[in-house]
């Protein structure tokens, strides 16, 4: 059983929190339960976020102002944090907070 291979992308300034890197190919280790986006957020916090976690996460979800798209569709169409991640999914986080 191979790992769960997905792509994580950042836009709208969110990349500033991730070393300015917009696209990340990620290999999630298999675990006994399925990976949901909620799990992914925790994983991002521990493995990718360079600093200021409060600018990206709030409670068990993303901070209000960060939009999430799964394969170019609004995650609100898919139960947000409870969406079960599939292989080759593209998860895009767009910040609307990095304006001025």
């Amino acid at each position: 059983m191979s790992n769960l291979e997905i792509t994580i992308e950042f836009g709208g300034g969110a990349e500033l929190l991730f070393d300015n890197k917009k696209a990340h190919n990620v290999s999630l280790p298999i675990k006994n339960k399925q990976w949901i986006i909620g799990d992914l957020l925790l994983w991002i916090k521990e493995n990718l976020l360079k600093d200021r976690p409060e600018l990206f996460l709030q409670d068990d979800s993303v901070r209000p102002g960060i939009l999430v798209l799964v394969n170019d569709a609004d995650w609100e169409l898919m139960d947000t944090v409870n969406y079960v991640i599939q292989p080759k999914d593209k998860i895009l986080f767009i910040s609307t907070l990095h304006g001025g």
Binding site: G11, G12, P64, G65, A73, E76, T96, H98, G99
Partner: protein, 404 residues
């Protein structure tokens, strides 16, 4: 005492906020065409496919501009450009609208301006940001001018140079200190924000006049309007709500400020940009304590409430839209140009505060011979409501704090 029931609400529903429902949108179709699969949910309840969403957004923009019939063909319009999704979307709306060859084409001339106000960063970073802005505007084949907010403030509200090349803007590392130095005493952040907001607006009007523009378009969106409304109410500007938050701000007779994006929310514009393959330039976020000023608190309050009660922003805006400007007095405030209310016979909060301050600074009369009434009469006799006819209620409190 317990306030329950004081408001005489007729139903339980009136007391509580409509919460966002948990909607299962799996296997639904687009709200509009009912054919395609949706790709976005707006306001936690409406799902749209790509085509309907884009058409809807474009239509909403054009409809709002067209509804008010203010801009005439060949008028010159100044666009206040800011960094972020709203301004980028506005770039696209305008470019598309102007490039149309049909009768629906937008028929006015536009010129962009960026007011540089990033003194919290290093000069190098500020230059980097300016270059990015210049490139973004060039992509859309528009003309952009640059003005330094710092210059305007420090030079006592005189319009400085409007430059084509951002390299020609003078940026100094100590700009932030220079801005702070114009305040006479240690002002709280709320009042500072208020003054700077008013001055920025005045600067934009000066720029528009200089460039012969009759209109200014600003990129405020619905949540900005809602938090600004609550903020202005908290500063005492209830009579100015329509010009501070409505579609058209016509306090200046030569230049009108319009807010064409006021019906959009951030998610809508972010999706609009995404679907048009636009990624706005971004700027580092500085740490802001939301409890440091009324304006920051209102932004946090509105945004937090909106998460669980998606009708918050629209309800606040609807309330504001039903208010009219109160200009029973014809005079305009020297600072914010809003109407100054005539103090009429009725007791007002302003007068009560003024009297309280007077009473708190009067040396008590301890003579045993005088009655309470007599002592009070003598306090009242020397009390005069200051007749300041040059500033409105809110500006009266802050006008003394700027060095002239």
């Amino acid at each position: 005492m317990c306030s329950v029931g004081d408001e005489n609400f007729e139903t339980e529903e009136e007391k509580c906020m409509p919460a966002g429902g948990k909607i299962t949108l799996a296997n639904t179709k687009c709200n509009k065409c009912r054919e395609n699969d949706p790709i976005v949910v707006l306001r936690s309840k409406d799902a749209y496919c790509e085509a309907c969403f884009l058409a809807g957004a474009t239509h909403k923009f054009k409809a709002l501009l067209g509804k008010h019939k203010l801009i005439r063909p060949n008028d010159k319009v100044l666009i206040h450009h800011q960094i972020g999704h709203p301004s980028t979307a506005l770039l696209h709306f305008l470019r598309c609208g102007l490039d149309l060859t049909t009768h629906k084409k937008l028929r006015f001339d536009v010129i962009f301006v960026y007011v540089e106000d990033n003194s919290q960063f290093t000069v190098d970073y500020r230059k980097e940001v300016l270059k990015k802005i210049e490139n973004e505007i060039k992509l859309f084949k528009f003309v952009i001018k640059f003005v330094s907010f710092n210059d305007y403030i420090v030079n006592n509200n005189k319009l400085g140079d409007i430059v084509d090349n951002p390299d020609n803007l003078t940026l100094n590392e100590d700009d932030k200190i220079n801005i702070n130095n114009i305040f006479v005493s240690k002002l709280n952040k709320t009042n500072k924000n208020d003054i700077l907001h008013i001055k920025k607006r005045n600067l934009l009007i000066e720029i528009a006049k200089n460039l012969n523009c009759k209109f200014i378009l600003t990129p405020e969106i619905s949540s900005d309007i809602a938090s600004q409304l609550l903020g202005e109410i908290s500063l005492g500007r209830g009579s100015h709500v329509p010009i501070d938050t409505g579609f058209c701000d016509d306090r200046n007779q030569d230049v009108k400020i319009l807010r064409p994006l006021r019906l959009f929310d951030m998610k809508e514009l972010a999706f609009y940009n995404k679907l048009n393959s636009l990624d706005p330039i971004s700027i580092k976020q500085t740490e802001i304590n939301p409890y440091s000023s009324v304006q920051d608190l209102m932004k946090k309050f509105v945004n937090d409430l909106q998460v669980n009660y998606p009708a918050t922003v629209t309800t606040i805006m609807k309330t504001g839209d039903k208010l009219a400007i109160n200009d029973n007095g014809k005079q305009k405030c020297q600072l914010c140009m809003g109407p100054i209310l005539n103090s009429n016979e009725e007791l007002s909060s302003a007068e009560s505060t003024s009297f309280s301050h007077w009473v708190s600074t009067q040396k008590p009369d301890n003579s045993k011979e005088k009655s309470r009434q007599e002592k009070y009469d003598s306090i009242l006799k020397h009390y005069k409501v200051s007749e300041n006819n040059n500033y409105c209620y809110s500006c009266k409190k802050i006008e003394g704090s700027i060095k002239s």
